[in-house]
Amino acid sequence: MAFSPNASQVDDGLKSELAKKGIVVTTLNQLYNWGRRSSIWPMQFGLACCAIEMIATACARYDIARFGAELFRPSPRQSDLMIVAGTVTKKMAPQVVRLYNQMAEPKYVITMGACSIAGGPFIDGYNVLRGIDRYIPIDVHLPGCPPRPEALLYGLMELQRKIDGQEIETTEWYQKGLKREYPIPDFGPHGLIPKFNPEVWNPRETENRKERYGEPILIGRKDKAPNLDLPPAPPRSAAPAPAAPPPEPAS
């Protein structure tokens, strides 16, 4: 979506002159967007570590109230914004999708932290979903582990910019008959069914993880168990080798 704020047709100089006389010239789009973006109510919904930074953002030092978003609502029906703050596990993912479905339009989603974007450091876990964008559409991705409160504020400002660019004639939720709901995945024997929703997300054509990040995190598979029944090795080798180890291969 283009981040073009709805520029009004009226000249800026004229507008400020008129404003001094107590006349405000605006468009309906601007007025609607101003109202919507200045009172985004997030859902009080924390998943993991990032939720603590979300709370810190709501507290005195960072004070998310300056952006009109201080009213954390526990119910999805009353909130406009879902901040997916933390790791989404496979066990939790159906609930997150269900909460999204229950939110009323217009609804926005910010993924906060690396985990909810793509699995983050826990990407290799058997119970970790590799990003909630596999099931629901996301408006703002907010990287970090966890992102600082300032970053969350920046993400919120980006969302406000996005709202500013919307127009009544074209924006989805002013059209008739829109109901953005996505199927809720089921628990399967090995993971979720389906693994992703191709309407929302598709796997990358080529796997370039290795090119980008070097060696994968999993560095060894073991076929030999340690035998603790044997007595410990003599003390000379009981400590790691004192000599400086060879330099590690560049990763």
Partner: protein, 385 residues
């Protein structure tokens, strides 16, 4: 408490049914994604089954597949209020495994960090407990105001606010500068005043007393048999603090007392935490005053800072535990002589302290179940791992 019958069956010709409700996983007072299946008779709890695993992110499996140092940042994310204490336990386990000595100054820095973490945790958990009681968000604002000041120190020392990843095997990553020590001393001056302010608002508050006293009483025998640890155990009057029992690190050098509760109700758990903060301040004062100069890393381990994958402890096993703010945090590590541990297990206090949640809640009102859960002090990252 359990002798009373709560059933309304047979009261005249009226017959009532029990009601099964589900609290969580998305619920404002479950401290994350925790779920309770509660059966109610009217307002009274008949049965309560905790359901966990909504944040099970396979910490153990991932740790068994990566280098020893590689798991250190993952331990930060166990109990995300107290990254320093989590690091502490893991570092101790591996040091035991590979037989590594830690320099004195590093011990002091670790203790300073662990006790600062305890302040952060206890102050936050009291804020959240009050939030559960209905004091909507105001105590959390006070708590987080103080928390931010301590997090600033963590940031200056380790480079991160929450996920510090500061300890290494055989020491700590960065040294404390005299300015940081001065700032810590500054916090130590101001923190007691804040505690007094906090206590003026809370300790003798009538609503707090009425809601918390005699609610969720945990008898000492049950607490011991159910492996409950930490402030929750001491609120029941059992004198067991791992800092005293094991004398790990250099805790034997510091003078502090172990606060104990009498009844083991929610109020005692609240008040024990307040008192523990005062004791932590005492430890911090001594540590900041007495911290010696010297190395911060064991000589043997310095080369492995740059090449952690070459660190291969000998075959063996080790179990180390620390008194984390939530209770006994234990790490069980088995090495097979390669760069990755064969078995890595975290004994999580939040998880095991929840064993007796049902016993505490049966016979109480459903609103009290919320504050009992709040007083247990769970963190989901550690509970589900």
């Amino acid at each position: 408490m359990t002798e009373k019958t709560f059933s309304l069956h047979g009261a005249g010709d009226m017959d009532t049914q029990t009601l099964e409700i589900n609290i969580g996983p998305q619920h404002p007072s479950t401290h994350g994604v925790f779920r309770m299946n509660v059966v109610l008779d009217g307002e009274t709890i008949v049965s309560l089954k905790p359901v966990m695993g909504y944040l099970h992110r396979n910490h153990e499996q991932i740790a068994e597949n990566m280098s020893y140092t590689g798991s250190m940042p993952y331990t930060d994310r166990l109990d995300y209020f107290n990254s320093m204490s989590n690091n502490f336990g893991y570092a101790m386990a591996v040091e035991k495994l590979a037989n590594i000595e830690v320099p004195e100054r590093a011990h002091y820095i670790r203790i300073i960090m662990a006790e600062l973490t305890r302040l952060v945790n206890h102050v936050s958990v009291i804020g959240f407990l009050l939030n559960d009681l209905g004091a909507f968000f105001t105590p959390v604002l006070y708590a987080f105001r103080e928390r931010e000041k301590i997090l600033d120190i963590f940031e200056e020392v380790a480079g991160a606010r929450m996920m510090c990843n500061y300890l290494r095997f055989g020491g700590v990553k960065y040294d404390l500068s005299p300015e940081v020590l001065a700032r810590i001393a500054g916090i130590l001056k101001k923190f007691p005043k804040f505690l007094e302010e906090f206590e003026t608002l809370l300790t003798k508050n009538e609503i707090l007393c009425m809601r918390c006293q005699n609610v969720g009483v945990l008898p000492a025998e049950l607490a011991v048999s159910a492996s409950v640890t930490g402030p929750m155990l001491r609120a029941s009057g059992v004198n067991y603090d791992i800092r005293k029992a094991d004398n790990y690190s250099l805790y034997e050098r510091f003078k502090f007392r172990v606060p104990l509760g009498q009844k083991g109700d929610v109020y005692d758990r609240y008040y024990v935490r307040i008192l523990e903060m005062r004791e932590s301040l005492k430890i911090l004062e001594q540590a900041v005053k007495e911290i010696p100069a010297g190395d911060i890393m064991s000589k043997k381990m310095v080369p492995f800072l740059k090449s952690p994958r070459n660190f291969k402890p000998p075959v063996g096993e080790a179990y180390a535990r620390v008194e984390a703010p939530k209770g006994e945090l234990g790490y069980y590590v088995v090495s097979d002589g390669t760069a990755q541990p064969w078995r890595y297990h975290v004994r999580a206090p939040s998880f095991i302290n929840l064993t007796i949640l049902e016993d505490l809640c049966i016979g109480q009102k459903v609103a009290d179940a919320i504050i009992i859960l709040g007083s247990v002090d769970i963190v989901l990252g550690e509970l589900d791992r």
